[in-house]
């Protein structure tokens, strides 16, 4: 390969001042590796929290919500023969639960975007054990389907999940409930709702989702047990939980389901709006830190190239005298910046990976108050971060190198050579 003179000069300049080159490259390296580390940590954490939220929340939850009175019924009765005005509309009590839930489920199942769907009966309950009472909710579910959607099995502390299907009056309680009422697998617990008669249930297992609020209130039981608790019939279902093939599509699918079914469809983004806001703010903080680091690295390169140009001003004049046009001089100095950028970028990628990998092995589970599933610092190893990092690194060096290079190209050989 034919190496151009400009490249040869640029490389010679770089290699004749190894220390300065190295310092400049280190600046870029830190910028790039910090970028990768920060992005990996952020994505890792976000992914973790997202995954955690999907452990408890479905992508879309369909439920019946009280509605504000509208002119719907009047329209049915009066048709278009008059103008209907509702003065001071009030909330209307809706029938709790979904009418014909299995029909609705069959209909939604036909949508190709839906991956899984399961009904649930939610009941607000009071747990009683001995003289201690505790408020909470019982989710009456088909535990096999529930496990497929939310990986309940992965959260099991003791007991066997499947027992919920074949043990009469069985209940799976959260670790928080177990601790507060000092219950163990095989113990009995009295569960009562406002409407039905209290039932003594057997604890067949204890789970820990990692979310304290959930573990202290929520327990699982069979869907029919929940209906019994509430004193309702077998078609009584309060929620339909839907998982999609692509959870990012949830905000688009939810309104459609709302229109089709007439029930409120809440997607996970709405349900976890605080989580999403936290993601955004975290992204802003980390990106500005990384931006500052790259900016500082850029100034480092700018400084070093500027110094080089003062040092080499006579040589630049000579190069111009012997026939190097301004563009060649720019090329010589810009190439130096780019090589520094590439060098720093490549080392930075390597270093960034190592740092991320190292941190992903740091054990934090033991002392974490959450306990649960977060044992190691969550880190993602996501290829686009590495590409972004090196691109940003090189762009910074080009921007930082361009101004000194342009200055060099404007050196007037006559004034320099004549002194």
């Amino acid at each position: 390969m034919k190496v151009s003179v400009n490249t040869e000069i640029a490389v010679t300049y770089l290699s004749s001042r190894k220390k300065q080159t190295l310092v400049a490259a280190m600046g870029v390296m830190f910028g790039v590796s910090m970028f990768i580390f920060m992005q990996s940590l952020m994505k890792g954490t976000n992914d973790y929290f997202e995954k955690m939220s999907f452990n408890t929340t479905p992508h879309i939850r369909l439920y019946s919500e009280n509605k504000v009175a509208d002119t719907h019924m009047m329209n049915n009765y009066l048709r278009d023969s008059s103008i209907k005005i509702l003065d001071n509309p009030k909330q209307l009590i809706q029938r709790q639960g979904i009418i014909n839930p299995y029909g609705v489920i069959d209909q939604i199942k036909k949508d190709p975007r839906v991956a899984a769907i399961t009904p649930q009966v939610t009941a607000n309950v009071i747990y009683t054990s001995g003289s201690v009472q505790l408020n909470g909710t019982v989710a009456g579910v088909n535990i096999t389907q529930e496990d497929k959607m939310f990986d309940v099995k992965g959260n099991m502390v003791t007991g066997n999940l499947e027992d919920l299907n074949h043990v009469n009056n069985s209940i799976l309680i959260g670790k928080g409930i177990a601790d507060k009422l000092s219950l163990h697998t095989g113990d009995n617990i009295t569960v009562g709702t406002g409407t039905g008669t209290p039932i003594v249930m057997r604890v067949i297992g204890i789970y820990s989702s990692g979310v304290k609020q959930v573990d202290e209130t929520k327990s699982y039981t069979n869907i029919t047990e929940a209906q019994n608790l509430l004193g309702k019939d077998r078609s009584y279902v309060t929620d339909i939980k839907i998982n999609l093939k692509d959870y990012n599509a949830a905000p688009d699918v939810a309104p459609e389901l709302e229109t089709i079914t007439g029930y409120k469809a809440e997607d996970w983004v709405q349900a976890n709006s605080t989580l999403k806001t936290a993601f955004k703010i975290r992204a802003m903080i980390l990106n500005s830190v990384v931006g500052v680091i790259l900016l500082v690295a850029g100034f480092g390169i700018y400084n070093i190239l500027n110094m080089t140009i003062y040092e080499k001003i006579k040589e630049i004049a000579i190069l111009k005298a012997i026939g190097f046009p301004g563009a060649s001089v720019i090329s010589i100095f810009l190439q130096q910046a780019i090589y520094i950028g590439i060098m720093g970028g490549v080392i930075g990628i390597f270093f960034g990976f190592l740092t991320s990998y190292g941190f992903s092995k740091v054990y934090i589970g033991g002392s974490s108050p959450v306990g649960g599933t977060l044992n190691y610092i969550p880190m993602s190893f996501y290829m686009p971060h590495y590409i972004e990092a090196i691109v940003f690194g090189i762009l910074t060096t080009i921007a930082a190198g361009y101004f000194p290079a342009r200055k060099a190209s404007r050196v007037d050989p006559v004034t320099i050579i004549r002194g």
């Binding site: 034919k2 010679t12 004749s16 111009k320 012997i322 026939g323 190097f324 060649s328």
Partner: protein, 229 residues
């Protein structure tokens, strides 16, 4: 005028700092191909300034400059850089080599820039040029490790690498002892006589000037004598 290497007419130049004053006053100069011209004069008479105007590096002048029959006045910086690269060789009072490169590279750089020959050919040519000045044994040393006289000879070799039509020197032998001055002079003479290259030097060295083909004498920004024999 096919055998004119360089022709300048009405060259006038002002210095603006601290006050505007003329340094070159309506100078006309013709140099034929293969001529060896020395420009002499007291310091401050404008002879170096004139050389930089003739070299195309200084564009801030009035008048008209032609090199090899082509008008150089008013051309773009890039055109002039190309012109210098191809047809003008420079030797400065202080050698001005690139200290990070070895001598061979220093000599090769203008030719690499021109890109007319392959790397290997240029390397061979550069060796030959160094040999002409007896510094071929220093070829692979870094330029800043050589003595002043050796550096100057390498610098002259660099000026010759592209076989330029015109070689310009600003006190090219100013830093050389009499023995080396003799070597350089003989070489310059050989270049003009055998290869018809044109040489224009500014010099203080009376002896050097008297042995050249023509002496142009300058005083106060004007040419006192064109020295035609």
């Amino acid at each position: 005028m096919a055998d004119t290497a360089l022709s300048a007419t009405g060259i006038t130049k002002y210095f603006h700092d601290p006050v505007t004053m003329p340094v070159l006053k309506n100078i006309a100069i013709d140099v034929a191909k293969g001529e060896f011209v020395s420009i002499v004069g007291k310091s401050g008479c404008g002879k170096s300034t004139l050389l930089y105007v003739l070299s195309t590096m200084d564009r801030d002048y009035e008048g008209n400059l032609e090199i090899n029959g082509v008008k150089a006045t008013g051309r773009s910086l890039n055109d002039l850089a190309q012109l210098r690269n191809e047809s003008i060789g420079f030797v400065f009072q202080f050698h001005y080599l690139l200290p990070d490169f070895n001598c061979l590279k220093n000599v090769m750089i203008p030719a690499l820039r021109l890109g007319k020959f392959s790397y290997k050919e240029i390397e061979n040519k550069a060796y030959d040029k160094l040999k002409m000045f007896g510094v071929e044994d220093q070829a692979l040393k870094r330029a800043d490790k050589l003595s002043g006289g050796q550096q100057q000879r390498v610098a002259i070799a660099r000026a010759l690498i592209n076989d330029p039509a015109i070689i310009m020197g600003d006190e090219p032998t100013g830093n050389l002892d009499s023995k080396n001055t003799g070597i350089v002079f003989d070489l310059f003479q050989k270049l003009t006589q055998e290869f018809h290259q044109t040489i224009i030097t500014v010099t203080h060295d009376e002896d050097f000037a008297h042995r050249s083909d023509r002496i142009i004498e300058m005083a106060d920004g004007e040419i006192k004598s064109h020295g035609r024999k």
